[in-house]
Subunit: 408 residues, 2 copies
């Protein structure tokens, strides 16, 4: 079902010096099914993180934020199958217990462990099962485990999402490898999405923070499947410094910019992978809004189109029912929008120009675009220079099926 | 499929003195299928109207607004099968031509005719077909035609929506009869919804305007099926004055308040009928948000829940996956929401209290509520005295089916 999304190959996922990953089966949802990932970060590794904006953030998010303030993270413990969200004080204790289980084996303080959970909301985390599995995860810690880890963090994902890239910076080969999970409850400001990106570059904390913030803005914060944000979203960028390049101290430096480009590419590829594997998705849709007064109003129009169930079901049906796009633009709440300056395109086919149906448009031309698996909808607002882009997918029977039957 | 929505009975729909309705088959979408309604308003009838807020409002809306400014409406011409929206200047001409066809036969100015269209967006209105059918509509004008008219204006509706009530005011029997259509593209600030409510009461224009505004706020502007607003929404309230009651000149008077109550009940019943017949609906869901700082933030939370595809698919599955409700409250964008004061109920079953899973909650209790066809979700924000309510339905396979296959 995913749209042009091949499974990553084990051999393509490069180890990042200083990062090891261990896998275990805790039996959280199913027995003998890998559902626990432990990431061990070499001493000196720095991390930068962004978390969900949802007021009801999950227990692990609360604990991870707190731990990150207190100490330099050395371990990440990720479970799938249970989100530990909406679980109240017991949930906070559960996350802490998991961290403690890791800390005891590693002989470190519990606050150097960051906990992450994804899965069903509102059920207590089976702490004992997780504690019991943690030693297994330690036993198979290895640098060459991204492929398995990417599979272990999946929930409704149908394809694992992971990618590696290398770049030469100042004569050093820098490696960046990332993995992500997520396919429903995806929208801006993070979603039921977990993403872990690691590099061996030597980079200062302030530079790493900027790289993460900029790259997230161009990737995970520009995608939407269904408009629902989750309680658990987290994106962690780690830099081990093992590549021995000279420390990057300025975000504007050539070296840091080169690293930023690679991180941004990886995050965008992972973000697109989430959409391509969107629940029930049959199309990958780019929505570009141009000629706005500012980027914010461009996003507003783009998200109104991207969230319209009518547009999404028309995309599913490959129906060039462009009236639905037009109606979505019209209800996006843009102040004093001048219809006579508005244009809408399906790929390169103009459907509306100067607010009127385009004379050159024909149903055949529209149909030809809608039959494609990858479609770009472009809207020109004719009132400025700003633009922005959002990626989404269509809305199919399978979206309903997946979400109606999720817990059964 | 509709949720507890019986078909109106012909005998229950009372004629309103001063209002006649004629039906015709113009063959807009199908041959020999009634798709045209002409309403004739007796001289002296006053009307009040609200229209879609969509910037891309349809041609008939533009013309109806203009005509209403220029003259006192005497005829309403409503077609189903084609919305005449997104049709540019040609669409405006088409609507004018239809008005002219009515005016010529009635020997009145064209601007006393208000045009309304509902159906597919983006196709030119077949004006000649409509003109050809207008004489037929004149020929069968009768006061006893609400039942047929309510059927004629349907598009994806599966059940006609019409209701009558009578009330004694100052010794006079006042009749109010209304009909509406709409089932998809429904949300606040009007939707692909047409509603026509007529009374024989004698009432001044300013009072009628207030009655309409208040009644719409409590009915059509509090429902949502899919968050999509349409280009064509219109709600018209007519008062013929034929009941011979003494003219209502103050909205606060007992007489006007009695009329307002009846009009509001009819509009709420019609609005609920639209939700009960929501595309693919299997549940009728009331979302009450209480203890907000103001009604606006209550609505914001209510609509976030009502529009969440994850909440709606869980409702369809009768799955008490209340974590999705909680996540929707958390992402509603309420400033400084204090979780420890928040409570959530499914009917009378408390699922969250003081931001924690309720100790009294059990999956069995939640399941019992979710198995019902009519469900109330109540959220308490614990920060004020304001409250508001929104009505919606669930999100099923059939919603996707109906909207994916609409034009095929």
């Amino acid at each position: 079902m995913p749209v042009n999304l091949p499974m990553p190959k084990h051999a393509d996922l490069l180890a990042v010096s200083g990062i090891k990953l261990g896998i275990a089966s805790a039996g959280i949802k199913k027995e003998n099914h890998p559902d626990l990932v432990l990431m061990a970060l070499a001493e000196g590794t720095i991390t930068s993180a962004v978390y969900t904006q949802n007021t009801f953030c999950a227990a692990p998010v609360t604990i991870a934020k707190q731990h990150q303030k207190e100490a330099k993270p050395r371990y990440l413990l990720i479970n799938s199958g249970n989100a530990n969200a909406g679980t109240g004080k017991a949930g906070l204790e559960a996350s802490k217990s998991c961290c403690k289980a890791v800390a005891e084996i590693a002989n470190v303080d519990a606050n150097v462990v960051l906990p992450f959970s994804t899965g069903v909301i509102g059920q207590q985390l089976p702490v004992d099962k997780i504690k019991h599995a943690v030693p297994d995860a330690f036993q198979n810690l290895t640098a060459d485990n991204w492929f398995n880890a990417a599979h272990t963090i999946m929930t409704t994902d149908t394809v694992a999402k992971a990618v590696s890239k290398q770049v030469e910076i100042d004569g050093h080969t820098i490696t960046v490898t990332g993995m992500a999970k997520g396919s429903g409850m995806i929208r801006p400001d993070m979603a039921t999405m977990l993403a872990y990106i690691a590099t061996d570059a030597a980079v200062e904390q302030t530079v790493l923070d900027k790289i993460l913030a900029r790259a997230v803005a161009q990737s995970f914060n520009r995608i939407t499947v269904d408009g629902d944000t989750s309680t658990n979203d987290s994106c962690i960028l780690m830099a081990t410094g093992k590549a021995q390049n000279s420390m990057m101290v300025e975000f504007e430096s050539n070296a840091a910019q080169a690293l930023y480009q690679v991180v941004a590419e990886i995050m965008q590829q992972l973000a697109h992978a989430i959409i391509r594997d969107g629940e029930g998705a049959t199309k990958f849709v780019e929505i570009k809004v141009k000629q706005g007064r500012d980027a914010e109003e461009c996003r507003q129009v783009a998200y109104t189109i991207a969230h319209s169930p009518l547009v999404k079901t028309a995309l599913f049906a490959s129906d060039p029912n462009w009236g639905r796009i037009l109606a979505a633009v019209g209800r996006a709440g843009i102040d004093a929008l001048d219809l006579t300056k508005t244009a809408i395109y399906l790929d390169d086919v103009c459907i509306v120009e100067q607010g009127e149906p385009a004379q050159s448009y024909s149903e055949e031309k529209g149909q030809k675009v809608m039959d494609r698996e990858e479609i770009t909808i472009t809207v020109e607002l004719g009132r400025g220079q700003a633009e922005d882009v959002v990626w989404t997918c269509d809305f199919s029977y399978d979206y309903v099926k997946i979400n109606a039957e999720y817990r059964t």
